[in-house]
Amino acid sequence: MSNLDIHHTTLLGPDGHPLAPLPAEFANHETIRDLYRHMVLARTFDAKAVALHGSGRLGTYASLLGQEAVGVGIGHVMRPEDVLVPSFREHAAQLRRGVRPEELYLYWGGDERGSAFAGPTQDFPVSATVGGHAPHAAGVALAFKLRGEARVAVCVFGDGATSKGDVYEAMNVAGLWQLPVVFIVTNNQWALSTPRREQTAATTLAQKAVAAGFEGEQVDGNDVIAVAKVVGEALAHARSGNGPRLIECLTYRLADHTTVDDAARYRDESEVTPWWEKDPIARVRLYLSATAGWSDQQEKALLDECGTLIERAAEAYLATPPQGPEAMFDHLYGKLPADLAAQRDEVVAATKNRADG
């Protein structure tokens, strides 16, 4: 079955040339510079996370190298009052939504306080269970619908996640009840060591929407303008009560699955190289230099700015005093049951003994 008509959008080619006139909202250079800046920031954040892991100061981390355009595009068009329900690799979307880099470092550093980010206050924490969050997005969207609010839930997951029942179940109900939710597949071609082609016989992941009764489309996930446009349209569609959409962003995981993975064991470097030529950041830089006179000086200033911002965030993260072990009892319930107070005392005593001994 491949005769489903799945629309595909690319606006900015890998060489930085627009393939079609850019939509009006992207015609001004300020918007493009803003998208560019957020992608550079995300990549700087990512490189620092990998380095922190390398020096033993961050836990296992899932890199988004090569996928910056997806998250930045999504974050760009979502409204503050919308709710993001992300997978574990959508740092770019989270950062663009206003989660602070030091908060993300804290989470990946193994500290729950990282998910207590100051804003956006209703966004979900990342889902480390693949696809388990898709039904949450349906629930969030149902809440919006029940209250008659013009808000949208945005659920992002990977190509691997599309094999999970949770994802089908969420899409099915969203189509049935016309819920204001946008499902986004970051198809980075790999689910750990399993390539996209071994996940499903479906020609596209976007077409999985068809069986759930709504539209799916593909977009060049390395083209931040295309992502922002297509996701923006889906948000408008959902916001005005017309139901869900599924958007498959075609991109590539340039990094290992996580900092404890070694992709060389299962994928050939020759597959990776061509994707560097489709780098989502380079193409916008080329576009900006060709059309807006983006200079080396401006480039350097931006890199410095992002570098400083991320260094400060890393310092703030590293300087965060650790929680005491009794913190594992904090926020377990609204009010700690009396039965557990004794266990809490036990932890404190055990730690004290350890410190004394």
């Binding site: 094999s163 266990q343 730690t351």
Partner: protein, 326 residues
């Protein structure tokens, strides 16, 4: 005799089972080309081909459910769930189907499958990768629950689990995967699935544990021995069905029982052992039964996990409390 880690022991047992019995199939997420995230299935696809060892789509319910269908058809599926944190969607398959296919069909169809999963904390893994929820499975009639704590036992127990005619949940303590090597013969010999193993002997106290916390339990026993307190250390190995006899025999000599597990305390498997000992051995006890366990909290992220897991000091303190109480 060659020495092997627990991880290598799992690989050797799978290799042996695949070689011995054409009905054995090994599958799961990333077990083929990738060889498993911990390398437990390293080289198996290359050795036995993609019809015997293969990757599935990313779908745990499918993995467990498909194992049931294959088992009913006479295969011996050995399916992997990548981490115990992702096993919960299989509970419907395990509880409603695997565990009772034999009962429902009065033995016409059976379900000789193994579901393997690494479990437990201590490797600084991400969220949902460190829990110990073995008691959930031990609660299900019709399942066997097996947890090795040493390379040799992992080898023997896994082979027996694969040969067993009923569904087995086989939980591997990932903290011990590469922790130590042990010499044993790759001779295809299985270990009994209904017996505890006495890992150390002594008459002053009975220490009972399983899986990763055996390491701390043995360490505590060694430290206590330096102080003149000699303990029996019992590795439960198979939680269900439980060999309560070995435990009660030991308690009859020592009069004291300290149970150690990494899982949360409430309704943890330690509670079952305590109840069983109370059922048949209450009058042997000279002190209250002690439990050293994880707390009834969500398993904390990596920064605090060491405070959650029982350590030798906590175990020693419990033994000392037991000794002091008569």
């Amino acid at each position: 005799m060659a020495e092997h880690t627990l991880l290598e022991a799992v690989n050797l047992a799978l290799r042996r089972a695949l070689g011995d019995d054409d009905r054995v199939l090994v599958f799961g997420e990333d077990v083929g080309v990738g060889g498993g995230v911990f390398r437990a299935t390293q080289g198996l696809m290359q050795a036995f081909g993609p019809k015997r060892v293969f990757d599935t789509p990313l779908a745990e319910t499918l993995i467990a459910g498909m194992a049931i269908g294959l088992a009913a058809q006479g295969f011996r599926p050995v399916a992997e769930i990548q981490f115990m944190g992702f096993i919960y969607s299989t509970l419907d398959q395990l509880i409603n189907h695997a565990s009772r296919l034999r009962t429902r069909t009065r033995g016409r169809l059976t379900c000789p499958m193994v579901l393997r999963a690494p479990y437990g904390g201590g490797v600084h893994a991400p969220e949902h990768h460190s829990e110990s929820t073995e008691a959930l499975f031990a609660h299900v009639p019709g399942l066997r629950v097996v947890i090795p704590s040493s390379p040799k036992m992992a080898y023997g127990l896994l082979l027996s689990a694969i040969r067993d005619p009923d569904p087995v949940v086989f939980l591997e303590p990932k903290r011990l995967y590469r922790a130590a090597k042990e010499a044993f013969e790759d001779d295809g010999e299985g270990a009994p699935l209904d017996r505890c193993l006495v890992r150390r002997e002594g008459n002053d106290c009975t220490l009972v544990s399983w899986g990763a916390s055996m390491k701390e339990t043995l360490a505590a026993a060694a430290q206590l021995a330096e102080k003149g307190v000699e303990s029996d250390v019992i590795d439960v190995c198979t939680l269900k069905p439980l060999d309560v006899t070995t435990i009660v025999e030991s308690v009859a000599r020592s009069g004291r029982l300290v149970i150690v597990h990494e899982a949360a305390r409430t309704a943890g498997f330690g509670a079952e052992i305590a109840a069983r000992v109370a059922d048949v051995g209450l009058y042997h006890l000279r002190a209250p039964i002690m439990r050293v366990t994880g707390y009834d909290t969500v398993m904390p992220l990596s920064r605090l996990e060491r405070h959650y897991m029982p350590n030798a000091a906590r175990i020693q303190a419990a033994v000392e409390r037991s000794l002091a109480s008569d």
